[in-house]
Point group: C2
Chain length 146, copies 2
């Protein structure tokens, strides 16, 4: 039997969070942090609601998972996020020493890859999971804004 807990499975959960952001007129990015197939954090972008540029989905997910674990380092954890993390979030992921980051759509302009070759040496990076759906949601958001 196939493992039901695939990267697609968790990315769909992150995408669901992004859709919640969309509904709240927030740039639609969602994130999930998982450890041993257990969800530790489920967040979406809240920069408008909180009037705080630091309230990206990833930042909240890191804070939330650390709080749950009672430790600063996200060992044996995977983040699923619908968009390539920006430099700020890439820097935070670096500090967290997270085990794995899986993202959906690429962000050539603002993504961490424009400045950083990698995250922490301990961190595996996977990209392109449900990339089209994640990217289409972003496009729909900015189309609505125009």
């Amino acid at each position: 039997m196939d493992n039901p807990f695939s990267d697609e499975y968790f990315m769909r959960m992150a995408l669901n969070e992004a859709m919640n952001a969309f509904e709240q007129d927030e740039i639609p990015v969602g994130a999930i942090i998982v450890s041993n197939n257990r969800i530790l954090a489920k967040t979406h972008n809240l920069t408008e609601t909180l009037t705080d540029v630091t309230a990206h989905a990833e930042m909240q997910a890191i804070t939330s998972a650390s709080n749950y674990l009672g430790g600063k380092y996200l060992q044996n954890c995977t983040m699923y996020v619908t968009l390539e993390p920006c430099i700020m979030c890439g820097g935070a992921l670096y500090w967290s020493q997270i085990t794995k980051v899986v993202y959906g759509a690429s962000d050539p302009q603002r993504g961490f890859k424009s400045k950083m070759d990698s995250l922490h040496p301990k961190t595996e990076i996977v990209s392109g999971i449900l990339a089209e759906e994640c990217g289409e949601l972003m496009k729909a958001f900015f189309k609505r804004k125009r």
Copy 2:
């Protein structure tokens, strides 16, 4: 008469915050955000206390000043911070479009300058204010840790 509100004046306030961090066994970095010579935020590193890698002095100062101003963008604001901001904080400062960043000691290994040529095009950067004192406090901290 000299302007009493010099860069040194506010950096000394940031250094005082860094000393509070030192007392709490936190990596001693302090930050201040000022607008029209008025203090909007006064913070220090809290990563150990909050078990949260995102709790750098700068991140908290940005959140706090935005909250005070009721807006995401830190127009007409200056951050004074005792250490060159890391990539995460550099990314957050970029998003905030802050008018000016003044830092004390350089951080060639972890500082934003290792990856980013600049912050936001709107942001002026000044470095080296009370650099020696800011750096000595860091050295004293890590010496105590060994």
